[in-house]
């Protein structure tokens, strides 16, 4: 089988939806800038790129019209480069990576860009026209359930207290703030030029967050629940991209290989506890890789909510110190469609930076799914 590697990772700064510095920037523009930055940093020849595969949770409005192709045009890629838009909600751009890897392995190209976008400022959650199937809504209410409610369900079922969720959130902000202060995001962020100036810093991280501050927040979804805005990932704007290519191509062209894709998986779960999606997906991917959870040195587990992240970690059995070394989505933000490519790219980068043999990126997906990617050091 052809070995597939991650040979580069870039993202835009992640900023708060509506209030943040990127609220007035279209996500296709962000993606074009990020892809240009990725090409520049890796030195990949644009004409060798087969296709760009862009994930987004809401492929409509400014993210519609097969936005992937439009991003290729915006980024001035050679006219020969294709474009495909992928939707698997929050797992969208991790699926982009998987599709690219699959295409490479079946000989349908050697170089792909797997990207993700989401402007949560500019598109409503649920899209402009949420039209639910009444019969399904009745048969399986979880199918259309709001994400906050699923987070409450997970908290209740796995008995994750508000206190534990807040500890987790504080730690996420602390790690992210430290990484930011140490300049550890500098090589992954592509500055974005907006009408109001250049944006080159993440905007969601709250360095000063404390348990006390979080304890004072109102419940966000359920009066009888435990989840607050502080233990949920914020609505975020951002774009991300990774360069996916055959190992042979990367070696031949001297591209900076970050990690090799060892295995991937998706798995469904009950929609009303979608946050637990990473569990089965990770187990499947680990099994396919022939390793166990404790063998993993670097874990990027998306923090959609504290409750589901904690429950998933526990169930899978990851070593806590391996998880989200530079902070997770609670601090960094979660621009839905852009998160998958970010955590794959981040896991690959961290494997290189921190050393070790295996990394995994995994996340939960609305509607009841999980997705996972196992990486190994080259």
């Amino acid at each position: 089988m052809v070995d597939v590697v991650i040979a580069g990772y870039k993202r835009s700064p992640f900023t708060l939806a509506k209030k943040g510095a990127l609220a007035r920037t279209r996500s296709d523009d962000m993606a074009a800038a990020v892809i240009r930055g990725l090409i520049e940093a890796t030195g990949v020849k644009p004409e060798d790129i087969e296709d760009i595969v862009v994930g987004t949770s809401f492929p409509e409005g400014e993210q519609g019209m097969n936005v992937a192709r439009l991003i290729a045009l915006l980024a001035d890629l050679p006219i020969s480069v294709g474009g495909m838009t992928v939707n698997r909600f929050c797992g969208s751009s991790m699926s982009s990576v998987h599709i690219a890897a699959g295409q490479i392995q079946m000989g349908a190209g050697e170089v792909f860009i797997a990207a993700g976008i989401e402007s949560m400022s500019r598109l409503p959650m649920g899209g402009y026209n949420p039209l639910f199937n009444p019969a399904l809504a009745q048969k399986n209410p979880g199918a259309y359930m709001g994400m906050g409610e699923t987070a409450e369900n997970v908290a209740r079922k796995w008995q994750i207290t508000r206190d534990q969720q807040e500890d987790f959130a504080v730690a996420s902000h602390r790690k992210a703030a430290q990484a930011q202060a140490d300049g550890k995001f500098a090589d992954e962020i592509v500055p974005i030029t907006t009408k109001a100036g250049v944006v080159d810093q993440d905007g969601c991280i709250r360095a000063g967050t404390t348990k006390e501050a979080l304890a004072g927040l109102k419940l966000a979804f359920d009066q009888a629940g435990t989840v607050t805005a502080g233990t949920s990932s914020p609505l975020t704007d951002g774009a991300s991209a990774v360069l996916v290519c055959s190992q042979a191509y990367a070696t031949a062209h001297g591209l900076p290989i970050l990690a090799r894709i060892r295995s991937v998986a998706v798995s469904g779960c009950e929609p009303d506890i979608m946050g637990i999606g990473p569990v089965r997906a990770s187990r499947k991917a680990l099994e396919r890789a022939g390793i166990s959870a404790t063998d993993v040195d670097v874990v990027e587990l998306n923090e959609a909510f504290s409750s589901q992240a904690i429950a998933s970690m526990r169930e899978i059995g990851f070593r806590p110190e391996a998880v989200n070394i530079d902070g997770g989505a609670i601090a960094l933000g979660h621009p839905l469609g852009a998160t998958g490519a970010r955590i794959v790219g981040k896991a690959a980068s961290l494997l290189k930076r921190e050393g070790g043999k295996y990394a995994i990126a995994t996340q939960c997906i609305g509607g009841g799914q999980g997705i996972a990617t196992v990486l190994e050091a080259v």
């Binding site: 402009y128 026209n129 949420p130 039209l131 639910f132 199937n133 809504a137 259309y144 966000a220």
Partner: protein, 775 residues
Amino acid sequence: MAEMFTKVAVIGSGVMGCGIAAQIANAGVRVLLLDILPREGSNRRAVAEGAIAKALKTDPAPFMSAAAARLIEAGNIEDDLARVAECDWIVEVVVERLDIKQTLYRRLEAVRRPGTPISSNTSTIPLSQLTEGLPERFTRDFMITHFFNPPRYMRLMELVTGPHTDATLADKIALFCDVALGKSVVNCKDSPGFIANRLGVFWMTGAVTQTIEHGLTIEEADAVMGRPFGVPKTGVFGLMDLVGLDLMPHVNASMAGALPENDEFHAINRDIPIIGRLIETGYTGRKGKGGFYRLNKTGGKRVKETLDFATGEYRPERRAELPELVAAGRDLRALMSAPGRVGAYAWAVMGHTMAYAAKLIPEATDEIVAIDEAMRLGYNWKHGPFELIDMVGADWLIERLHAEGFAVPPMLQRAAGRSFYRVQNGIRQQLGQDGEYTDIVRPHGILMLEDIKLAAKPVLKNGSASVWDIGDGVLCFEFTSKSNSLDEQIMALLGKTIALVKKEYKALVIYNEGSNFSVGANLGLALFAANIAAWMQVESLIATGQEMMQKLKYAPFPVVSAPSGMALGGGCEFLLHSDAVQAHAETYAGLVECGVGLLPGWGGCKEMLGRWASDPKMPKGPMPAPAKVFEMVSTAKVAKSAAEAREMLVLRPSDRVTMNRYRLLADAKRRALELAADYKAPEPREIVLPGPSGRVALNQAVAGFAKLGMATTHDVVVSGELATVLTGGDTDIIDTVKEGKILDLERESFMRLLRTPGTLARIEHMLETGKPLRN
């Protein structure tokens, strides 16, 4: 006409300055708002910027929309003063110190464009002093424009000109304040306190001293001085709490210093030590810890308390029980003659205030109508002092003053044996200083139903509405029911009116001069009908209302609604079915039915859906319009201005706004005639709605709010019905929905809701308390 100024400079960004700037911006005119440099910090515009930011958070809001605030540019008088040359009018609203004002004027003189009008908002410094020593070219352009607080809501503006003021320039300012800012401009002489404050301060001071003198409690004093005399129910003490107790000593001292020695004010103006003590201890009124009234929040409870003059301490508020008020009824003379302390108090305060008002002719103005207007609009009195004198009788007042040894002012003496106002040949006239009556002439371009009624009889009339011929082929439909609530009779007369206009007239205007256009359907009737299970009757009223609204919309003549104040529920549905709306800027419109457990049943859902669905800024697809309308209607959202109503699409881009309440009818009539020129009735709309798929999505959202405790149990029921209507019932996205189908859905859902105990409880609660029940 509002366009005649493109930019105005306001100097001074305190509460008044910023409020005036906001009102100018509300009129769509750009403002340069300047203040001094901040004491610290590097932002040299911080003072004015801070004032704008604060105003955006103030309630009641100085701004009519967020867009208005963006018309104001902040600056400071050190860096930006020269930019007044860009402005068509300069309003000075700085601290009340002659030296500071004059220094500023001299600096302005160096930078302003020659001929640019300058005015001061001073309330205490005479124009003669302000202009002393300044060159003639300055005095020619200078006048006093005295606004009342808060400038957006208080409709009075006193205009004072000096002997050198250019009359054309003064007219220009008066016209701008009238048309663009919506003020009623009252010309005053350059005398202390001008008109409203001169008389208002006399009245308030008298009320306080006489309360103590006659041993009334504060509640009793306010009960006597409030409702019976048509004064806002805050009375005197409530008003002083609102204005700020700390202002009183300054205002009184300044008034005492400025008035001649023989002025009656000196006799009633005395130091009241308890007020000084209140101010010293932070009880400066509502802005402080409280005033004559306070809210005691100690011990977790909120207890309304009142100051007791006898003990100097606060005690729980006690409702005034005064048999004298009941006995007198509406007879003010009886009240002022009642034996005992209540009658003595009413006489001592109001009798002398009436006499003092007469004395202000010719000191403060030559016209009684100016004084009445100033008190009506500057102090929100229902009747001016001369109107009050006519109510008690000038002869009675003269006689009593004589009997008690008080001087009778010449102007009062002139009214002996007659009244200050009379109606002659259908025109209201006022008594002049020459003892002759003259017609009261409204400023050009004003048409009032109140005037029309003096000279004419209604064309049609029943117990709840009247129809007036307002000339040029236009009829005016007036609601006359209690609170202008809508009932069967209104619908019946509307049917007749439509038939009549069709036959004999060109256009119809729907307008009235109540404080509110209409607060909606008569809920009492709905509850009564529900209680006796008269479902057929209710359904027929809904159906008739729907039919009338459709007739109004598709009539072969233009219909213009001209709302002011609240236009809620059915009142709002009138606006939605009119060809055009000419709204007073202070229009508060919205579909509030869900608050009482119902939904808009006279086509409100249908019209709002149509508007949002055809709004070019909305995303495509069947869901955005229902979702948007659902958000507004389910939360019973009310626009807090005509500008906000525009944002909600209750007003369309083609609808227009009138700033001056008095000009509303004339503007509406003009609009109706414009439309009548080549009128074609609109074509019925058909829209695509999402059907059950969309309903499920909306219900899902409500379920989320319910979990959060933001939607109550009955909210879920009500919004479920609303979702059914707004998504088109069982329609499919490949079909189009006709208006009739949405009306059927409205009616069916309305009837289902009316049969629920939750809705009946809400209606009952609203009727009893005036507040929504959150069940």
